[in-house]
Symmetry: C2
Subunit: 420 residues, 2 copies
């Protein structure tokens, strides 16, 4: 047997304690879980000074290490942001609790089978340097009767430690085990690797972050994983499209927030409308200085464009860059999408019922849009009230994941001595 | 890049073809899918001579290789058995089709979100030398709009090849691609390993078989996996139990079919009733010559018993062997179950509402029984009409898996130009 390293043992202890604490916690009433979440919000506000001081340490270190501006912004807490995080906590408390609900059937032999939602047990999350995720993820897991083990980005380690210390106070004040929230303050790669190996204690691991992290987790994890967030999304402008609508949707899908996974990376347009549409679109996108990487036909229409490489079609830029292709038919558009989609969100603008139906049936993605922007793929926009991530895999949950994704099935069977 | 072996390329070709065929097939109407399944049943009966001849080759080889009697029996086909397999196929055709059904919501901005069930795409199954599974699994996958890749036990390779050839005829006669059913006739371990690596083409892999196979798949697979079938199941006889009922349930759960995963391996009994209950149970089980492996207290009551080793409590015997323990309380029973359960099926016999509720809430298993035998954990007994396996994992599906387990989520969003 291999010798376990200190980091491995540290992670194992946190996961074991969380899993053990989850057993008693899973049966907690909805009222008590909601009261806990509200206490957590109050406690976080009471600890605002400690939390902001810890956050300042992270910001100082980040500045020293030349962390990019966008990351600095996500890392920064102030009283208003913390207050917003606490409001979100209270909103989770107000959501309906899925645990225990389900369907009841009676079998011919008199057995009563209740198919109910049950907590998963211990949920682990690896995420980036975003203090708000520390609180959001803990809230969603606790709401659904789960323990949580958090491993955030190293740039936010002091903020995370302070936030978790405050939430643990609320756990203890409500008579629960502080181990229900595990926090891995050891941010070496070895800590993440140990977490991926905790089959005895971790019921599911959700990586939230860049491509590299997600690939590493999928390749190496021995615990069950839900993949999230890869979004190479397309918009196809059909020959029957309302071109004004298509411009509006394209601008929104590309330019409203290019850094997120539900923004589009590629625009495909039918050859019959490309000469009219592309200049309209370019004019509308002019103020964002969008860079176009085009196939030959699109290059001929958009004079400022660069030719797209093979790799461009396969890249999630998360930036003001758009690959543009002209296609001969909806079939060619669907074939292109089938080849390059990450299965996140795909859209068509069309006035043809036939083409809308073909797109819906044959495009294999979590969310398929007809005449709307891909930017709506989001738990809040879908009406789930909260979101733990957007699944781009097919098993368990696909698309935006709300509270239901944090539950499993349980069959409760009652009899009066039935045998088979 | 590593050189791909011939076996790898062979498996890759089958999986790629199945995945490609699945794209067009996924949108097939329920009526056409049902007609296909009925044609398959007719075709199999028309090919009965070829199929039984192929089966005889398997049986001859098995006899030569000294394959155990029980496996020989599962391997054997005759006209009556084939007719039963075809009846099951027609029953699958008659089941409701989950694909396309779902919930519709309208968002405040007018977006219509339809959350529907969609095919997974390409489903791979590794299973034992059981010809009936070749047809059952294909039927369930095709019913739900999926392609299937089958890799059965090597002892049944001729039977499987003949059954698949017949089913492919029915596919072609109905205007579908024969690639919708892939059959891996290469039964080396390398074939299974290649299948576990097909992330591009295989959407889910279900191993059905012994512990060794399932562990190998879970440890090595890079494709998504659903674990099935591990069943270290317990029955706890509470101090308030109706002892006659408890005997009836224990006998059924242990002796009616010990080779299956929903049979019990361990009986726990409260110390207050153990002296009365255990002799009653032993008398009722006498005709099966059940071997008892007991803790100290149970050994004192059952004079013929052997002491149980640590390993015994952790073993799924699938045989007429029962570990027996005497516990001081329901808490001790739940703690024991928590330590050793594989999360399949657990039962209590009790007259106490309080104890029934504690057992239901705190035992973490797919199926939790109060006053009934664990033997009911089965898709047919649960009213699902068919079963592709019994999941002992928490993600995606847990417990008996019917047609729903072969589907994924898809969100269809219709707008009239909404942007965010």
């Amino acid at each position: 047997m291999e010798q376990k390293t200190d980091i491995y043992l540290y992670v194992e202890n946190i996961c074991r304690a969380a899993k053990e604490a989850s057993r008693a916690y899973g049966a907690t009433s909805t009222a008590k879980k909601n009261a806990l979440l509200c206490t957590m919000a109050d406690q976080l506000m009471a600890d605002v000074a400690d939390i902001l001081a810890a956050n300042q340490r992270d910001l100082d270190a980040a500045e020293e290490n030349g962390v990019p501006k966008a990351m600095m912004d996500r890392l920064k807490l102030d009283e208003k942001r913390l207050s917003g995080i606490c409001d979100a906590l209270r909103e989770v408390a107000a959501l309906p609790d899925p645990i225990g609900s389900g369907e009841r059937t009676v079998r011919p032999n008199g057995l009563v089978i209740q198919h109910v939602r049950a907590p998963l047990g211990c949920v682990a999350i690896i995420y980036e340097a975003r203090p708000n995720v520390t609180v959001d993820a803990a809230a969603l897991c606790l709401k659904t009767g789960n323990a949580v083990v958090l491993r955030g980005g190293k740039e936010a380690v002091h903020s995370g430690t302070a936030l978790v210390a405050s939430m643990k106070k609320a756990l203890v004040d409500n008579g629960f085990s502080p181990d229900l929230i595990g926090f891995i303050a050891q941010t070496d790669r070895a800590g993440a690797n140990a977490l991926m190996d905790m089959r005895r204690y971790v019921d599911v691991l959700m990586p939230r972050g860049g491509k590299g992290l997600i690939r590493a987790v999928v390749e190496n994890a021995r615990v069950p994983v839900i993949e999230t967030g890869a979004g190479n999304c397309h918009l196809y402008v059909d020959e029957t499209a309302d071109l004004d609508m298509a411009v509006k949707v394209a601008v929104n899908a590309k330019c409203s927030r290019p850094s997120v996974c539900n923004a589009i990376e590629t625009l495909l347009v039918h050859k019959a409308v490309a000469p009219a549409f592309l200049p309209m679109m370019a004019e509308a996108m002019a103020k964002w200085n969008v860079e176009y990487r085009c196939d030959e036909a699109a290059c001929a229409i958009l004079p400022s464009a660069k030719p797209a490489s093979d790799e461009d079609w396969d890249t999630e830029y998360n930036d003001y860059i758009l690959t543009v292709g002209v296609v001969d038919s909806i079939d060619a558009a669907i074939d292109h999408i089938t080849r390059y989609t990450t299965g996140h969100s795909e859209a068509i603008v069309t006035r043809s019922i036939e083409n809308a139906n073909a797109f819906r049936a044959r495009v294999d993605a979590a969310a398929v849009y007809v005449n709307a922007s891909t930017r709506f793929t989001d738990g809040g926009e879908f009406g789930f009230g909260a979101e733990i991530g957007i699944s781009t895999q097919k098993l368990h949950a696909r698309g935006p994941m709300g509270l239901m994704a944090l539950t499993t099935d349980k069959y409760l069977i009652d009899g009066d001595g039935q045998v088979r």
